[in-house]
Symmetry: C2
Subunit: 305 residues, 2 copies
């Protein structure tokens, strides 16, 4: 099954375009998870990593049925050092076992064999002397386009080997994202130029959705509308909904027919809707996931299907 | 000592602007290193990681006196999985012990607390509940600017806590780097716009060299000249010399007075000037490092000082 179809299927089977971001932070974790690992303050990076793993694995169970797409953020696991990255490997593996479609959010970008190394590690596996070693086992990756087409190409090649996909940064959700992305470049803003290139890189499946998508923030409703209208085949990964301040209605233009074509990420809003000392944190996560799933089903039109 | 001064000092004490890139690849490693780890083909990612660590630590010893700056490429260590990243941590630590100034080449870029997580891990250490845990312990990082000023800011903040620095991607060395970097944006190419911003981000030390530098490829001599002329305070990290085809003479305009202001990276040219079966690989690395050091001392003008 091609990536576009897999993405549609992952959202349809739960009836919502919600994507849950796995962004663990020590200070926000339930005290119950931190207990035995140093409590308030961690004993070691291994303790941080263990807590991130316990919490992330719990989240993967708690959000079942409310999301089909999981997006771990590499930076937070990297901030728990090599033990954190080992934990990430196990979290990714478990997400795959549970049938989630995964987007590994590393925003990598490099050239030639270096890009290939990132792409292999992220997707089908690193090849050393022809032997294949799975590393992160993601279904798709976020990629930074600044280095150009030949830098993105190795990611495209590797993703196609596993019917995987990419989400290229186009218009990010941060307040200052316009500094370069909004520069007027030969008649259009840079982000549109990048977006058109993303459209050209993708290969559409039978359902009309391509395997190279775009990251466009929920804080940029006009851009979401432009994308959906001008590049209907490009799947969108929309961060910034919820905690980052993106409004629900602003998301409407992101979706295609029957609510397909976009996934909307929520990280903190689903992961941390409780105080660390709360003993009912599991219920709170389930409730937050259910509510986000429902809201997004409604706004996307998928709920009506 | 401020970063600019540290960079100048790191090149002056060896009399050359050479920076050695640590880009291990299984297929290129000496058979002697691979023996016992699967020989031709590796047994596991742990075996790959062990070989990368043995080789990288050997290189750190072999190039002493020929370079003051070491640039490990994160992608290759990531392609050896979590064990590879643990090996990277030990290689970075050893590089610091040996007195090298380190540039950790991850080309990261993300927003808000995510950027902060990368910056902390890369530089002074990840903070969890106020406790500081060193991760990669780099003196400086490469950073991708596409997400804008607020995405670069956390990297700047963290770098200043440790008198460290950044090298922002401006004009990369790959053949297709112009796709976006060369777009005419409001009167000048995008890379120049980014370069001016890099100039504004930096804080110059007493010697006049700033703590926010730029990556400009050796394959772009006109851009090197423009940078040195228009932004004399911005230190340059110049990749693409040697194996990537950048010519020696093209580097001349990159340098300021007495050969300062730029470091020129060589990875494969210094690391792999031998066939895997060669038993004299150590001599070959030493010779390659010595030759690159000498060539670059000459072209920079540092040799004459």
């Amino acid at each position: 099954m091609a990536f576009g179809e897999r993405l549609t299927e992952a959202t349809r089977k739960v009836g919502t375009p919600l994507c849950v971001g796995i962004d663990p932070r020590w200070e926000s974790l339930p005290l119950e998870i931190r207990a035995g690992k140093g409590g308030a303050a961690p004993e070691s990076l291994q303790a941080v990593a263990d807590a991130y793993e316990d919490f992330s694995l719990a989240v993967l169970e708690l959000v079942r049925g409310f999301t089909g797409v999981i997006k771990p953020q590499m930076a937070f696991f990297e901030a728990a050092g090599p033990p954190g990255l080992a934990a990430l490997g196990r979290v990714m593996n478990r997400a795959g076992e549970l049938g989630y479609l995964t987007i590994l959010d590393g925003k990598r970008g490099d050239i030639a064999s270096t890009a290939e190394a990132y792409a292999q590690a992220g997707l089908g596996g690193a090849r050393h002397a022809g032997v294949n070693f799975p590393v992160w086992r993601a279904d798709s990756l976020t990629v930074n386009p600044y280095l150009g087409a030949d830098a993105v190409e190795p990611f495209i090649q590797e993703s196609r080997k596993v019917d995987g996909g990419l989400f290229i940064l186009v218009r990010t959700s941060n307040p200052g994202s316009g500094l370069f992305q909004n520069l007027e470049c030969q008649g259009e803003p840079l982000w549109q130029r990048v977006a058109r290139q993303v459209g050209a890189w993708g290969r559409a499946d039978a359902g009309g959705l391509a395997d190279v998508g775009a990251v466009v923030g929920a804080t940029q409703p006009a851009e979401l509308a432009w994308m959906r209208q001008n590049l209907p085949a490009v799947p969108l990964l929309v961060p910034g909904y919820g905690a980052q301040g993106g409004a629900l209605d602003a998301l409407k233009p992101a979706f295609g027919p029957e609510g397909t074509g976009a996934v909307v990420n929520s990280s903190r809003g689903v992961l941390f809707p409780f105080k660390p000392e709360a003993s009912d944190w599991r219920d709170k996560i389930r409730q937050a996931a259910a509510q986000s799933a429902c809201e997004l089903a409604g706004v996307s039109g998928m709920g009506a299907a």
